[in-house]
Point group: none
């Protein structure tokens, strides 16, 4: 089970719509079940540095099949996964990465969003993930 390009584009379109609704400019990435990039879009004027962050959030969410922010809770100093960000050529472990599931509740990919506060990033990612 793997996300299709059509599904990924639908997720990005929904995420963009939400980004506009909350007046933000986002980088939005979708990876498949193999954690490989399927689709990406950077809204006009969005931060250049958020391209890599959006992709890494999506990868992180699929690498561990949970929201990127959940990893971040465990990677703090003293935490059980301290500095896990050094693996996989760099993880991003704050909110904005969410697994994407199909109707059978199987994980078929993940979405990563970056460009505003982490709360906004997560909100926009959720809009994208829930469009599938």
């Amino acid at each position: 089970m793997n996300i299709t390009l059509a599904q990924a584009e639908k997720a990005i379109a929904a995420a963009k719509e939400k980004a506009i609704a909350i007046d933000t400019k986002m980088n939005i990435a979708v990876v498949d079940s193999g954690a490989n990039l399927v689709a990406f879009g950077r809204m006009d004027g969005a931060w250049l540095g958020s391209t890599d962050i959006a992709i890494k959030k999506a990868e992180t969410a699929r690498y561990f099949d949970m929201n990127s922010g959940s990893i971040g809770e465990l990677s703090q100093p003293g935490g059980s996964l301290f500095n896990i960000e050094h693996s996989n050529n760099g993880l991003i472990t704050f909110p904005g990465g969410i697994p994407i599931k199909n109707k059978q509740d199987e994980i078929i990919g993940a979405i990563g969003v970056s460009g505003s506060s982490v709360e906004n990033d997560h909100t926009v990612a959720e809009a994208g993930a829930s469009a599938i």
Copy 2:
């Protein structure tokens, strides 16, 4: 002058249409005038390894404001640019990367396509670039 996301999505849509017309499955990347990724799409079943190649072809075309294949003609053994591919964290210098110009003939970005023969890659890239 910089390509917009709407323009980049239009280029990818045109490239996809051409890819389907010639029965291929492509990875398609668009970068802006600063050689930063704007949009990307991997068609279902397209080679995973071509994601990075498509992005690097687009970067290469913008890095030197010419088709990626033009660099490759000069980078052969004995050529004036032998092994230029070692620069910029890896160039891809065979066909499939083309600069994108606006109506004033200014370069506003570049498209890179990978997933089939280099002839097909170039054909699909051209369909994308000429849609702007």
Copy 3:
């Protein structure tokens, strides 16, 4: 809107002047609106390790259109952007990186300075940025 080499050299000259005035030896880098290097100078006797730091500070400031130190305030343990430094092949998030704006208040690039205390780095960067 993009910074010119003449403007970048003017920024570096102003930064050097300030560096001498406060008796420091600095690495000074200027990137354009695409976060690509435009000009660089390392003052005699300045730290070798600060070359890469100065460039990364300038990139970081343009990647997120804010002072590099503002990112660092959010990337501390427990902060919303903890370990963001793992993105983009390495960010530097302490002070010394500042966006450069034109008279229309558009961001046309950024300056990064490294070689002394972060307070001095920031002071010198500001002298450079405000010379444009």
Copy 4:
């Protein structure tokens, strides 16, 4: 014996003057005797991809204390240094990199130029190197 920033800036100014005289747009880098970057300038409109190439040419010239093109003659298929470009995070071994010497004929650094044909790159590098 090490090149100063003032000398490096003089070399870049002389190189720029030559670049303008032969109607080219160049990236110009100067490294010191430790092969570390001292100064850099990218002329307006010069190729983005040539920034890294100019720096690598300067490094290559100082790494081996000879013109970058001399390495390239030995790194061809069948040559004694075949694919030496894989070392040092990437060498550039075609012309445009030249050691810089002081009046006592000691090597104090190197200059690397990229942005046109390798013949033009070498010509501009020579103008820079001989200004010291």
